[in-house]
Structures are given as C-alpha cells and as structure tokens.
Symmetry: C3
Subunit: 357 residues, 3 copies
C-alpha cells in the first residue's frame, strides 16, 4: 500500500499525473462529488494547523467523504501516553485513510509502517511537508503553464524553510530551471539542498531588487526576527527581503508571487491587490491537489514493497537527533540508508538526519 | 454579495421573508434536506460558544451541507498571529460561506469587507449578535402569531444585554408594540436604545410583579452579581428580578417566557414545566431561522454595494473604543457615519461607538 | 423512549439481537450506508476520549448520519456553568440522538431523565461504560463463536476496572462460563461483582502462568503503578501480570487475548503479531456494535416507562458519594432502589453506590 510521507515517494511522472488530476477536478468538480462517498478520513493533528487541516477536510468533504479527527493532542488518547503505533492501528479500525501532523520528525513515517490504511504526512516538525510542495507545483503549473524553463527566486529564511527545500528538490527534476537564493547570511540555503541542483543552475544573491527583473516565479517565506543572532541585524536587513508595491514595479508583468502562508510582514498588504500575487489562489490549489492525492492513494490497492528496506545498510539503536521519533517511541533498531557511498554518509529512515559512518 | 453582520443589514421585509422561509422549513424539512449538498460552511469561533456553534452546524447539516471550522482560537493559525483579513481570504478558498464569532467588536464586519464568501456574525464581543434577534423574532411570531400589538416586558440586565438592544430595535419597526423595562438602576436600558422607540411606547418599571399581568411576552436575561457596584445590593434586589412559579400565577394564560440561554438562576427550574416557558423551543427555532439565513445568503449572487460607503462622512485613523477591531488590525482609515445631523453624532463603521464631532 | 446508560438496561435477548445486527452490518455494510441519512448525533465529551469518540462518530457517519459535538468541556457552554439538564434539553433541539462522556458518576443517567432524544453513556467517571461491554461481547462471539461454556481469565487491576465488572455481570448471564481472576491483592475483584456469579464458577488465582493453559479468553487490563500502596511492590509483582511472548507459549492455540485499550505496558509489543491477539480487531468490533446500538435506539419510538421509578423505595436529599452527580447538580430528591431486601441494601439511582438502610 502507498503512503505519502515525502515528495520523493512519488516519481516525477506520478507528480505530473497528480497535477493533471487536480486540474481535471477543478474543471469538472461534479464528476468527483461522490468519489469518496462512505469513506472516512482521519485528521490526526498532534499540533494545531488550521490551514492545512481545513485544506484536507475540505478536500475530503468535496469528494463526498467524511471526517473524524482531533486538532490538538490534548483532546486525544495520546495524552494518556499511547504510542503512535497503537494510535494508528486503532484509527485504521475506524477510518479509510489518515492525515498526520506531528511535532516529532518521522512520526508519520513510523505510523505508515504500522498502518493498514494510507498515511499522508501533513508536516512532521521541521522535517517534511510534502503536500505543500505538491500545492506549489500545481500553482506554478496553473499560473505559468509549465514546470520547466523558469527563473525561480526564493527569498527569506532559506535555511529553516522546509517547504523551500523540497520545492527546490522537486523543480530541479524538470529541465532548465534556474534558482536564485536571496537570504541574510544567517539563513542561507543549506549545502545539501544545493546538491540537488547542477552547479551552473543556481546563484546566491544578496538583495531582492537586483534579481527581481528576471524572475518568473518569486517564492517568499516567513523571516523571523528570532532567527537572527542579533535582532538589530534584522531591522537593518529586513527592507532587503520584504516585498512591497515599489519592488513589484521592477518585476515582469507575468511574474508570480507565491507564499506558503500564513504571512507575517514579509509581503506588505499593498501587494495583495496586484494580480501577480497568487498566494491566496495558491491556498485554493492546495485543496484541489489534496483531493487528487486522496483519490490516488485510495485507488492504489496493491501492497507496495517498502523501498527503504531495500536500500537499508546499517541498523543502530538510536538516531542522534533528539527530535527524531526514534528517541521518543519504543523500537528495536533504527535503519540508516546509504546516501553517499563515497563520503560514507548515511541517513536516518525517520528524520533523514545525515551521519558519516 | 450580502453578509449578515447586524440585524439592520436586512429590511423589515427581508426579516419577515426570513421568518416565512424558516416556517416552511419546519413544515417541509425534506424539501430542504439536500439544498446545500456539496457546500461547506466554515465555523470560525475565536471564542467558545457551543450553543451558537451547534445551532449553525445543525442548520447546515440539515440542509445537506458540510462543516469545517474551529471552536476556539488556540487551535487555529490565528495563534500564529495571522490577521483576520488573511484568515478569511484563506477560508474563502475552502468554504462557501462562513460564520464568525470573535471577542473583538467589528471583527466579522472587517472579515466581510475582505471575503469572497458570505460572512455571518455569530457574536462580536459585547457588540452584535443578529442571529439571536432573528431567533427571537421567529419565536414570537410562532408562539404569538404576530410581531405587532404586543406588550413586551424585558427584565434583568438591560444595560449589557446586546440581544435585548437589537430585539427592541427590530420590534419597534412593527406597529403598536409597547415595551416595559424592568431592571435595577445600575443596569437600566441605555438611552440610545430608547431612541428607537417613540416616547409613548415604553415605560421603565421597578418590579416584575407590577407589570407581569399585562405582559404578552416576557423576555428574561442573565443578571450577573458582578455587574452590581455593591454585590450585597444584588442579594437584596434579586427577588425582584428572578422568575419563579409564584410570579407566573400573575401572568396571562397565553403569555410566553423567553430567554437567550444559558440561564443561570434568573428563572427557577419550577417554571420549566409551565407550557408558557418557551426558552427551549426558542433554541430549536434558532436552528430553523439559521437554515433560512444560510439559504438566503447563498442564493443572493449579485454583488451588493456597501451601503455604509454611501453614508460615510468622516475618516479618522482610529476609533477610541479599545475593543474595536480597528485598534487591533492594521488598516489605513476608519470610517465614521453620520448618525445624528443635529447633534453631529458620528458612529464607527466597525463597533458602532458614537462620537460628537 | 429507550436510553443506554448501563448494560442492564438491555435484556440478554436484546444484547444477543444487538450482536446479530452488528454482524449483519459487517457482512452487508451497503445495506446500512444511508440508514441514518439526515440524522444528527451529538457527541458530548466532558472529558477527552479519542478512541470512544472516534468509534461513535465513525459509526454514525458509516450509517450516513452526521455529527455535532465537543471533545472537552472547555470548548462548551458548560464552562459558563450551565446545568447538565439545560445542556441536554438544548442539544435535543439540534440533534436526534446523543452520546455523553462525563467525569461525574450518573451524569448520563441524569441527562436521559430530561432528554427528548436517546442518550448513550460513553463512560461516566469510574462508574459505567456499557458500550465497552457490548464491544467485548461482540468480540468474543465473533472470535470464539459463542458466549457460553468459556474459561475466562481476567488479569490486572480488577478492582478499579469498570469494564471488567460489567463484562463479568454480562457473561454470567450465559450458561457454564467460569471466571478466573488474576490480580495483586490490592486490586482484587470486589465482592459485589462476585455476587453476580454462582459460587462454583469463579476462582481467584495469584499468577497468570498457572491458569493460562486452560483459558479460552484472556482479558488484560491496565495496571497502574500509582494504584499500589507501595510502588516498589509494583516492580516486584508486575512480571506476574504482564503478558509477553513467552507466556503466550503456555496458552491454547485458539485462545484470544483482549484489552480495552489504550494499553501501556501490560502487554508487550512482541505479542502484537500473534494471531491470538485480538485487541485491535476488538476496536473495530466496537464501531460495528455502536452502529447497531444507534439503529436500535433510533428505531424504538415508543416511550418507555422508567423502570427505576417502579423499583424506587426511598428518597433522600443526597448520596454520600461525592463524585455522584446528585451532589453537583440541583435536584429535589435522590431515589434509592432496594437492591437486597434481606440485608436492606439500597442503591443510588445515579451512581449505584450501595447503602445499608
């Protein structure tokens, strides 16, 4: 059985199919209005996230399905210290498919290993948030008509923004995309993300104005004062990274501005009325791509072999990342897959932390 | 597009139509069982209110629609400091109509100004609660067979009871209604409410017994000990304002007793079995009138011009009411409409606070 | 009208019918997919219990019905100090049937006395949890093919486990069942439970190994360290009461292991893969038996005479159990039914506490 724990669980072909189905749903909603009649989606939100929860719930309801779930762990048995494994095994008795958001990295991956029903990762700590990436891909495909031959400018906190990391990874699979990273030095894009892109296709830029004129896609992210070693530094730099009406003048007429939302102040409100601002439509695309995802996972009956098992090379008792679910749930061994045979880099099966062994 | 932020958003004709539709739903529920099939209602409760939330959710579900929502702000993105404007713009991507309860006065009004879907005010702080008023009108119409030629006694906290204020305003539009206000001096009905009624049609009374024999409708409200300057005063006075079996003996056989609920102790339980007590049926009427309201707003496709804009006379940067949403959300200017040309009284577009300018 | 407050509300015949309907639903789900179309279930959870709430919500949704409700009292009007009586009378305006979980003993019983719709007890403090018992009966019937001629071993905390008490009571109505109670001395099965069983049909055993070979059904329960007068005692004894792979070797090939869940550590994970472990299927049976229960209560139109009233012998102003709802809600008198005419034992109508009078 298939799950959706990270974007790489789907091939490039599967991602493009997903986008095509989402587009068909937008054009022919009535065709899908009863597709999930009599089916239940469990929304297991161990930390609150209204936007993501609403998007999944609206997706299932618009497919004619129904919802059970909780929106914060306090309301749930987990407060009685039940293990994630037991929780998912019980949920699988009541629901046909589950969406999990968890503060621990790898929690949805662990759940999927013990689940009789498809599990979708709706965000696990700072680790993965794959349906945000599929949302972004659908948005670009809809607004630009393509996923290749694009100049993509990513601006803000590029170090901690997980959605940026997996978007770059996904878009680098398509031909002739060039990436421009605009961020303060404390919040630079990590090397492992650059490793997805071939040398000549990315550039690190110090100011938004310089690069805006050539951008096809501008992807803005939250930039939190607290992230700066010295908060004064933030006040000094923020004008370089905040998008406003004046900067929009520099951009192409057909450029698009994206943002995962919620936005704080990195995009000033005077940009909202600009037709190039697509961050609210982006939210709507997120609902449709999740409808397509639910349909896909519910259709796939055949048991899938756990791809990880095959590439598993090492087993250790723990992972050194203290946010990794393997340090919070009882388990015999943690698997570490071989990431880089030359440098002997291994990666944790749950949180993807890398180690030289 | 139409919203329902305060009772005066609807004309007298629209209110009577709303009541007629509610009655038709009660008589022919099956006719409406699928009216909202495939539509989603978002219930945005920034403060808890089970009764009101259940009433709206039951209304939508009995129309064949579905629900997404939150029942307290902590579970929602707003805890991440997202603005009301951004929240409603996102919700509008997922849902077809929204109900908002908020602790800030004018919050639903602000939301409606940025919303692509109809917004219903389910209570904004101490300001407005229009669907309680439509509930009260349907209850009187059902139980008394008319909305005019009534002796209406309102008892308890008439100063802080927003539902009382807008009920008086609504009923004063109908012919030959007389109002009797029974309250302790600290909790008298405000002058601005009296200004809705013509001089000869209202009286302030000190005790409930005195006026009960001539009442057609008795509207009881919560009377909170804390409201009294001197709590001992409460114990001395409360017998004057608490309804019990003995007082009911004084009332007409066809009088009705109403209460917005929840009641604390202002109506003793020995009254519950009296067939003149209609405060529980009143709750049921509330569900049906909300079904009619959802149907009305969803039907009205055409964009409505913002009536306020036309009557707007003054723009200032802030409103002096610190509970007004304009002091908590970023906005350029607050509009002040001319309420009283003689006395030069202006009213805030969000919280309706009055100022002489 | 019928309610389901404790297992004894249903006759043995009704319980077996309930099980038969549950089995028919499992075999022909589509036959029941729209049975509750247009009907609303209110889930009133005054304390959180995800498992039980999900089970009821999934049951109603799989019958084509809909849900309104709250999952903890804080989100509800009860935080405004509304009485249970008023709450249920209001809920009855919106919903067609209600499920209540409450921290006070007898709260659902009180609600049922004031409700116009069927009320189901989903657990009231340490008192009753009847749908767990119907779940257990369906599980045994499905997995063993019978409810009689069984050797039933109950292990763990038999003193505080309400589910154990009412399961023993229910199974003792069926022929030739023998009960084996395995527990530390501090947590022995209470005498009143033994009084349901005839002398020759139960035995108290000190260790699980000794009795396991002859068991047809092993019912494990949570055993909380805190329950021990001396926690060290727990560490010394726990091996006697924790089930693991090695102990399973002693058991029959067709024995079944049950647990109400959530489990903490009384069953080690190495047992989960054993096909005799049925505690997760048990959760699924719980959903189906609740579907049957909802169908039964919704079908029974006729008003049922309150059986309690008939057997009521004494009225007093209070019950001595400070967790009894009668000490927390305003009420004239509490009824005490005659339980044992010889010993003059009377039982409280709400919490079933016994008193010699």
């Amino acid at each position: 059985m298939r799950h959706f724990i990270e974007v790489s669980d789907f091939s490039r072909q599967e991602l493009t199919n997903l986008i095509d189905v989402a587009k068909d749903i937008m054009e022919n909603p009535s065709k899908y209005a009863d597709a999930m009649k009599g089916r239940l989606l469990a929304t297991l939100f161990y930390e609150p996230s209204t936007r993501t929860r609403f998007s999944f719930e609206a997706a299932m309801l618009r497919l004619g399905g129904q919802i059970i779930g909780f929106s914060e762990a306090q309301n749930s048995s987990v407060s009685k210290g039940e293990s994630i494994k037991d929780t998912i095994r019980t949920i699988a008795c009541y629901a046909d498919i589950a969406v999990m958001r968890h503060y621990l990295e790898g929690a949805p991956k662990l759940a999927s290993a013990y689940s009789d029903i498809p599990v979708i990762n709706a965000g696990d700590g700072g680790h993965q948030h794959p349906t945000q990436t599929t949302t972004d891909l659908l948005t670009i495909s809809m607004e630009k008509g393509r996923l290749d031959n694009l100049n993509i400018v990513l601006c803000g906190d590029l170090k901690n923004g997980r959605t940026v990391h997996s978007l770059v990874k996904a878009l680098s699979q398509f031909e002739n995309n060039t990436f421009y990273f605009v961020s303060p030095k404390e919040l630079k894009i990590p090397d492992y993300v650059k490793s997805y892109i071939k040398e000549s296709s990315f550039f690190e830029v110090s100011s938004l104005e310089d690069i805006l004129p050539s951008a096809d896609v501008l992807y803005m992210t939250r930039i939190q004062k607290e992230r700066f070693e010295n908060p004064k530094e933030y006040d000094r730099l923020k004008d370089l990274f905040i998008l406003n009406k004046n900067k929009m003048i520099l951009a192409k007429k057909d450029m698009i501005v994206m943002h995962p939302l919620p936005r704080v102040n990195e995009i000033s409100e005077d940009v909202d009325k600009d037709k190039r601002a697509v961050y609210f439509p982006q939210a709507k695309y997120g609902m449709y791509v999740r409808m397509a995802l639910i349909l896909k996972l519910m259709k796939e009956k055949e048991q899938s072999k756990d791809d990880f098992e095959d590439s598993r090379h090492q087993l250790y008792s723990t992972c050194d990342n203290n946010k990794c679910v393997s340090n919070h749930e009882k388990m015999d061994k943690v698997g570490f897959g071989l990431l880089d045979p030359e440098k002997h880099i291994y990666t944790c099966e749950y949180c993807d932390s890398n180690y030289a062994m």
